[in-house]
Symmetry: C2
């Protein structure tokens, strides 16, 4: 079946040029006359020539392999792995566009050995670039390990940007403030916040945004309405219990991610507190679960696919892109938020 593939020699022969010229055309190098280029190009398409990556890599000493490194959901039974699919989707799109391949590498960031593991990965797989997802991207130890190999690196959502490393973020802080202003406009004044995993800096920015939003709405933060969660569904439940058992309870709860917000909804349901009528709940991320909850969750849609796409593009084509890219997130208003209950 399998017909022998055309090689660069076949193309050269057919176009009546040397293989070097074909190589120039394929690699978009200068110094080729237009008429020559066209001849070569038609030969390429007639023969359906595709350069052999292995030969290319071997001769050029570079791989066209980009590594996507993220926290391993299998290591902790992470609740919502949908964000990984989103990242992969975007990264894949950019890889195809840039003739690159994608190597996925989930890893357990709690292990002391991640740094060494990533160095070995870079070495063994000869990665030509790495996209590092949060929270790995905000861990200096890990970032430094990768930097020490001189492999091009783009960080995804590293939170407060300290270095001048190539970075793609979303506007966690601004959009969180926007959510708070939205709640305030609905008449809410007693707004609680459930903070997320302290190791995850981008999530910490959401808390800053919460404070901004309160200030912008002329509200002040009520200390006992700020409770520490850890991004998990369970922690959302625990925090909700603490908040809702009080005599004076908040009329709105903004959780730093959707999983925790889902926990809030579950607990409120059990306590027979009506979401939306008696309690507004908002989350962050827009995971699939948020549409399956009852009521559907008001949240922030994080453009993860486009962020990952940008990151790979920065790697593949560093000249045309800036060092820092912000892909804005947007409010997704659904059913879990409504006007504040009137006080009696």
């Amino acid at each position: 079946m399998q017909v022998a593939r055309a090689t660069i020699f076949d193309v050269a022969q057919r176009a009546n040029v040397s293989i070097k010229t074909v190589s120039r055309v394929v690699n978009r190098e200068p110094n080729v006359r237009d008429s020559t280029r066209q001849r070569v190009e038609s030969a390429i398409s007639e023969l359906r020539y595709r350069p052999d990556q292995s030969a290319r890599n071997l001769a050029s000493h570079r791989s066209h392999l980009i590594g996507l490194v993220y926290d391993d959901p299998a290591a902790y039974e992470l609740p919502s792995s949908g964000y990984i699919i989103k990242m992969q989707e975007g990264a894949l799109r950019a890889c195809r566009a840039g003739m690159n391949e994608l190597l996925i590498h989930p890893c357990d960031f709690r292990k002391k050995t991640v740094g060494a593991e990533l160095k070995a990965l870079i070495r063994d797989a000869r990665l030509s670039g790495i996209v590092l997802a949060a929270p790995l991207s905000n861990m200096p130890r890990i970032v430094r390990a990768i930097e020490s190999t001189n492999t091009p690196l783009v960080r995804l959502s590293p939170g407060s940007v300290i270095t001048d490393l190539p970075t793609v973020v979303t506007n966690d802080r601004e959009v969180s403030a926007e959510m708070v202003r939205y709640l305030a406009q609905l008449g809410h004044t007693d707004i609680a916040f459930i903070t997320g995993d302290p190791l995850h800096e981008a999530v910490a920015d959401r808390f800053l945004g919460f404070q901004d939003g309160l200030a912008q709405s002329g509200l002040k933060m009520i200390k006992r309405f700020v409770i520490a969660g850890d991004n998990s569904f369970r922690s959302g439940e625990a925090c909700a219990r603490k908040l809702l058992q009080r005599k004076h309870r908040p009329t709105a709860i903004f959780a730093a991610n959707d999983d925790m917000a889902a926990g809030v909804i579950r607990v409120a349901g059990r306590m027979r507190i009506s979401i939306r009528e008696q309690l507004a709940v908002a989350g962050f991320d827009d995971i699939t679960l948020s549409r399956q909850l009852d009521p559907a969750l008001t949240t922030v849609r994080q453009p993860l696919a486009r962020m990952a796409e940008h990151a790979v593009a920065m790697l593949a084509n560093h000249s045309e892109h800036s060092n820092y890219e912000c892909v804005p997130a947007t409010l997704q208003i659904r059913e879990s938020t409504g006007p504040a209950p009137v006080k009696h």
Copy 2:
């Protein structure tokens, strides 16, 4: 920074053998004296030698690249993408063990062009093997397209196995029967079933298992208690509404997947029907959501990671494995099922 990598020549020199002998050791070929092998192996580890994949591939005309092809969740806002992460996890594990690399390829099975798309993928990426997930694995058109390229293929959960192609399955039918027997033992006699996506054959096997289970428990199937869903959360809700609005309603509902079971739980909640006390609900898959529901869902745990691992191992090492592997699923009894309500 980057120290020059050791090549096969360096190793040969250090071990005082020819490069061919090093190659033999690396590739686990026979005909090497034990003492020689050991000398070579210590040279390899002293020099931290890792064979160059590109050179290897180029010389051997094989790529060591395995493609994992599955339905693209981005194409339909598929509810639970967790199963993909699980498959990737297992496939990745087997790839590392076998010195292979993994290329992930989500694709939209409803497009007429998938066959051509996969052929192009195989050609361009020079895949040395493909693992095809359900429901793509039960679509003759797609399977034939891949077969026509002579690329080794392993199918994951293709449902009723018609051909002798290498296949990895789980015991959908048997374990579904087991679930029904479990419900019957709890005293349930009016058990409803919500069928899944008709394009997905492995899911159809679950319905067969449902019938087996009834028969084994001396129960007969009640036609009006069998309702057609399509694997989606929404369809689970719709089916539940139909089932529960009747004057004579089932005391247990077994849905062909967890998403639909989640829909049942939501609807029952709205109708103030108490799950477990008044209605037992069971699902299939054990997606993350099933643990976050209230009450937590009784379901079937599908060993997707190990199935994918097996599939890749079959590809990498076809001699040592049989052509057909069944990794059994197991019941996960949680909170959503209990004794049948006593009749008044």
